[in-house]
Symmetry: C2
Subunit: 202 residues, 2 copies
C-alpha cells in the first residue's frame, strides 16, 4: 500500500469514528418545518425530490402550488397521471403574480391555497406537505406571515413535515423553521439567453 | 378599487412588461452543465426533482450515484421499482468514502462510475444525466477534474443536460458550468439532534 493510500485510509478512519460518535447524538425524529429560499434554481425541484422519496416509501403527501399553475409542468403531469393515490396535488394560483395583474384575485387565490394547506397539514394521514412558492404570497402580504407561522408552530402535528419554497422567505418564517437552505445563484443560463427548458425548469 | 390594489396592479403591469421584454431575448435551447454544490440540504433532491420532470415528459434519462449506494433510498427504490424503462439507474460507490476506508476500492468504484457516466452522456437517446455526488469523487482526486471537464466541454452532445452534485465542487467545474447553485446551509436540524428521516433525507 503506498503512502497516499495509507494516509487516506487513516484519515477516513478518523472521520468515520468522529461521524459515528456524532450520529449517536442524532436520535430524535420529528416533523420538520423546512424552507427553500434564495435566488438560485432548485428550490421547487428539491421539494419535488422529497415528494418522490415520500411516494417511494408509501408516505402519503400533498402539494399546494401557490403561484404556479396555469401552465403544464412535469411535476404536475407526473403526479396527476401516476400518483393521485399517493400524493394530493392542489393548485391555488393562476400564474405568477405579474401575470394576473389583479391583486384581489391573487389574494383570493392565496387564501384559498392556505385553507387547503391547513387541511392537508392537519390531516393525520398526510406525512409531508409541500407549499410550493408560498413565499411569494407571503412576500406580497397576500397571506399574513404571523398567521402562517403561528399555525405551523402550534397546530402542525408533531410528525408532519412541511416544506415552504420561494424567494425572499420572511425572517419570521426562517426563525420558526427547523431546516433552511438558501439557494444561491452562482451562475444561471438565462443570463446568456438560454430559455427555460423541459425537464430542467419545468 | 382601493389605492393599495391599484398601486399593486400598476406595479405588476410594469414587471410583466419588463419580463416579457427580457423573455424575448431567451431563445436559445441547449444542453446544460449544471452544478449543485454547497453544504446545504437539497443538492441531490433537486437533481431527482429534474429526473422526475424528465420522466413526466418522456425524456429518457440516467442516474449514476458515486458515493451513495449501500443503503436503500427513496429515489433508488422508486426509480428501480417504477421507472426502469424511463430512467437508467447505476450505483458505482459503496457508501460515503469514510465508510469504506479503502482508497483503492473507492478509486476503482469512482472510475467505474465515470466510465458508465461517459457512456450515458454519449448515448444519443439520453437527455439528462445526473451524476450524484460526483463532486466527492473529484474532491478526493479519485477522478481527474481535467479529464471530466474536458469530456463535458468537448464530447457532451449539444442538447444533453448533465447535472453534477456534491459539496466542494472544484473551481474548474464551476468555471465550465452553465448553471451553478450553491446550497447554503442556514439551519439544519442535525445540529439539534434530529436524525436523518425517510422522505426528507433519503
Amino acid at each position: 500500500m503506498d503512502e497516499l493510500t495509507q494516509r487516506h485510509n487513516e484519515k477516513m478512519k478518523r472521520i468515520k469514528a468522529a461521524r459515528d460518535e456524532m450520529m449517536k447524538t442524532k436520535t430524535e425524529e420529528k416533523g420538520l418545518i423546512m424552507v427553500h429560499t434564495g435566488k438560485g434554481k432548485g428550490k421547487s425541484s428539491a421539494g419535488f425530490g422529497m415528494i418522490m422519496r415520500c411516494i417511494a416509501w408509501g408516505m402519503p403527501c400533498a402539494v399546494v402550488q401557490f403561484v404556479k399553475g396555469n401552465w403544464e409542468t412535469g411535476e404536475k403531469k407526473l403526479l396527476r397521471e401516476k400518483f393521485t393515490e399517493k400524493c394530493r396535488f392542489f393548485v391555488s394560483g393562476e400564474g405568477f403574480t405579474w401575470e394576473t395583474q389583479d391583486r384581489e384575485r391573487d389574494v383570493a387565490a392565496a387564501r384559498n391555497g392556505w385553507e387547503i394547506a391547513k387541511q392537508q397539514i392537519l390531516d393525520p394521514e398526510i406525512q409531508l406537505v409541500l407549499l410550493d412558492e408560498i413565499n411569494i404570497a407571503l412576500r406580497y402580504d397576500y397571506l399574513d406571515i404571523d398567521e402562517v407561522v403561528d399555525f405551523l408552530l402550534t397546530q402542525k402535528p408533531h410528525m408532519t413535515h412541511v416544506c415552504l419554497t420561494g424567494r425572499n422567505a420572511k425572517p419570521e418564517l426562517i426563525e420558526a423553521a427547523d431546516l433552511v437552505t438558501e439557494f444561491e445563484l452562482v451562475k444561471h443560463p438565462f443570463r446568456d439567453g438560454v430559455k427555460a427548458q423541459r425537464g430542467v425548469e419545468f
